[in-house]
Symmetry: C2
């Protein structure tokens, strides 16, 4: 057992030693040649992480903020008042995205999954898309509250077929580097993520990418609805840094961007051109962990089937007669911080364990096994038997 | 000379070893007891930094973002469409604040200082305040583009006398911990700052405080204009952490908040109840540095008189026959990154040296002397003689 509790919530995750060391990079001016080089490298690698080539004229953004800021970047740049927006909801985070977008247009519809733990129904989706002309649809690839994975490629195909003008937006906060996402190939218009999950960097960065079609809409807005979240102001800054020049709108988070540079190298290490190997590793780690939860411990997953179970975390019902707070506290005593539930009336019925980054697929991946053993021990200390 | 260039721009500044070490704090869950304790301590000390007692019912905010986000926090919470806003401008950053607020109301007036390097004219200010009923006035305490200090206490007195209902907002990004600011005593309604200047922490945090009067306006808004910048959503989160409980709206920047905790201890160290000693140290360091610039090197400061010269940086005209880019590049060769000008047609006529934090008033304060010597050497290498 480690000398300190390990953080196995679905973000912030455990960070690699090299990423943490980069957080202590001594001060650099945000327009110094030393920092420009690092930010340039980050933007180029961010494209690789999202599977988007520079030739597609997509626009990456790395901005101080949290994942939540990505919702406002979407709302305040890609949604005009009066726009019809369809939000696919598989949990708390999808619903919060809808709440954010309601600030920017009065016409936000939510298509809820038929039950907790399921993804949306494709027949309902097709009928919605046929009935209304949506300007924008949002997909929460992994809803961190339910652990439900939505098949972004399949949704995108349906949207392209029925309503090709609809902008496709993906909240990938808990999915990036865990789930496959081909930004260019699938014709996605905006993907937002954050630093503190499988990206492997302490919280504080909003990371996203917009398609040329999305940028066109953002740049044509008659009036901005935010200053800090205005893509029109950020795009030239990101373009300057990506081309190796400095520019100023707001001071970038120099140390976090250094840490992101290190982490992206780790994410792309196995195959410096793509994120595929990292995604595959997360899938394998997740499959194995879930198999053990189900087969060895007899636990029940919240996702209704394995094909809608996300790979960055496991969301699990408490077994009967095991009280939630007691299990979390036993786990803490046994060395691991795990997370409680967060969705509506279900929140006291399940817990969440994150398995992303260095502790799941990196140089400390044995920690995920240790977490499993700690769970087994904690349950048994609480009198649970399979 | 240090093995690396030292960052002597007006932010980001050089950071203390302990602050940098805190940036590498291993992962903690944002709702873990360990982190709650740290965030609680940060919020309590943030009040001390701003000279605001909890009894005043003011509300501190520490949010992932840059200083710029503070402008949107002001605009999207304290300015309603149609509000009359008066911006006192002493440079680029005041003007940008005005540009931000124009998103939130059509009625933004800018009272410009009569000349570059001066602060605003108080007769003009009084006449403006008498002619129009302003809902909000903004003061940029130190405009980082000109190095001009505006007397916030004096402006506040005039506002209180002529237009007591006007909310008083201070951009103290480059002033906090360098200049006196008594939030409660002077009746200020909102102060915004950022982590990377005299607060002494890497960039990535927006730090601000709102009065009970400001919060009343924010909480009464019929409809938010932003999600991420909505004080109504953030206030209960900050209140929970300050009272020692966890709460979730968006993931806080755990490592930056640890670093802020360490830095606030350093800022308040000489007198744990107030920031006064730190402010006095910055004033003394600035006075001595400026004396040497003027007396030993015969340079001319941009601020028209010493009573409007800010203490966190020195803004200095290039001497005749010294080319700006050449001086900056000599300074880099001699170990220091300093900053160019940034304001309109003056930008190629002056340079800026920051003197905040550990390198100016902390355990490495000899570095400010080394910076002066490097400047002397660089100028002489360029053929300049007093």
């Amino acid at each position: 057992m480690s000398a300190r509790k390990l953080t196995f919530i679905p973000g912030p995750i455990e960070f690699s030693d090299n990423v943490l060391a980069a957080m202590s990079t001594p001060s650099q001016a945000h327009t110094s040649p030393e920092f420009i080089k690092v930010f340039q490298s980050v933007l180029i690698k961010t494209r690789k992480m999202f599977c988007s080539a520079a030739a597609s004229k997509s626009q990456p953004f790395v901005i101080s903020g949290s994942g939540t800021l990505g919702w406002d970047l979407c709302g305040s740049n890609l949604v005009n008042q009066g726009d019809n927006v369809l939000v696919l909801s598989t949990g708390f985070f999808s619903d919060q995205f809808a709440n954010c977008l309601k600030i920017y247009t009065d016409n936000v519809e939510v298509l809820e999954a038929p039950q907790f733990g399921a993804s949306v129904d494709f027949k309902q989706l097709e009928s919605k898309l046929s009935a209304t002309s949506y300007d924008l649809i949002t997909i929460t690839q992994t809803d961190t509250s339910s652990g439900v994975l939505t098949d972004v490629e399949a949704v995108a195909k349906v949207v392209k077929k029925i309503s090709p003008k609809t902008l496709i937006v993906v909240d990938a906060v808990c999915a990036t580097a865990c789930e496959t996402l081909k930004f260019d190939d699938w014709g996605i218009d905006y993907v937002l993520t954050a630093s503190q999950k499988a990206v492997g960097v302490p919280s504080g960065l909003s990371i996203s990418i917009a398609s040329s079609r999305a940028m066109e809409k953002a740049l044509q807005r008659p009036k901005p609805s935010s200053f800090f979240a205005d893509m029109k102001r950020w795009a030239p800054i990101m373009q300057a840094y990506e081309s190796g020049k400095g520019a100023y709108f707001a001071t970038p988070a120099v140390q976090l961007i250094h840490a992101l540079n290190v982490s992206l190298d780790e994410l792309l290490a196995a195959d410096t051109q793509t994120i595929d190997a990292r995604v595959a590793a997360h899938k394998a780690a997740s499959d194995s962990f879930k198999d053990k939860l189900v087969n060895q411990l007899g636990l029940k997953l919240v996702p209704v089937s394995r094909d809608v179970a996300a790979h960055g975390l496991s969301v699990v019902y408490y077994p009967e007669n095991v009280e939630g707070a007691a299990l979390l506290s036993k786990m803490a005593a046994n060395g691991f911080t795990i997370a409680s539930g967060i969705y509506k009336e279900y929140k006291d019925k399940y817990f969440r364990i994150g398995h992303m980054g260095v502790s799941a697929v990196g140089e400390r991946k044995q920690e995920l096994n240790e977490c499993f053993e700690a769970l087994k021990l904690s349950l048994s200390e609480l009198g649970y038997q399979k």
